[in-house]
Symmetry: none
Subunit: 114 residues, 2 copies
DNA sequence: TTTTTATGTTACCATATTGTCACGTGACTG
DNA sequence: CAGTCACGTGACAATATGGTAACATAAAAA
């Protein structure tokens, strides 16, 4: 999830997502044409997008095609958007979150007999 | 929008959002207690969250209380999530559909015993 | 084969970000 | 008033990030 937010935290990378939304499966050179950046800069951004799982690639001959993968965005929506927009609808999630937090911070009081 | 992604791109800041979701309107000292960081570190994170509009503050005497503001998340959903998940549906409908689906699927796992 | 095209790798630099330290401000309490 | 208490500001070192340059690989075309 950390990689996802990092990937989204850059205008160039978000523009790449928009470009792929307009036309999925573009190659590096095609994407590069839309930027002032050098090809290597674009490649780095694509690598980050790949690491975040937002972009999947498929090599075919000399070309490497890039495809959008919406799944990470769906997960972000579930975890970091919807629960904050509809608090009453996610009361269950609040409890879940509470339990997760307690686990991260150590066992709760009633388990502390050792 | 750039500030929003920057604000979200840090585990500490996302944890602050979770803390405020559990209990809105906490002061700096209250939030600080949950971190290993120093108070100043937490303050910096809060400033970024404020700049992104995710957290609104209200001073009352010596205390400064912090409140969640879901509006930026709504905007992010409209611009950077929904269009990628359901290209032909409106953003609001996307969230509605999602919540309805969750409801149909019943209670989550951790409530299933007994 | 030679050349061109598309992509990949290593190294490097300028800048931004993270978190801390020291010190300052403003408000309640005794 | 004097003393805490909660919060704020400025400077600083360590690290991460964004972008470039030079060089390398690999597939198609001539």
């Amino acid at each position: 999830m950390d990689m996802l937010f990092k990937a989204l935290n850059d205008p160039a990378r978000r523009e790449i997502l928009d470009l792929l939304r307009q036309k999925d499966g573009q190659s590096l050179s095609q994407l590069e044409a839309h930027f002032d950046m050098t090809r290597f800069g674009v490649m780095k951004h694509l690598k980050l997008l790949e690491d975040a799982g937002l972009v999947l690639t498929r090599k075919h001959g000399r070309f490497k095609y890039h495809y959008l993968n919406p799944l990470p965005l769906q997960e972000m929506l579930d975890r970091w958007v919807a629960p904050f927009l509809q608090p009453q609808a996610s009361a269950v999630n609040a409890l879940k979150l509470k339990l997760e937090t307690e686990t991260r911070m150590g066992k709760p009081d009633f388990m502390m007999q050792t």
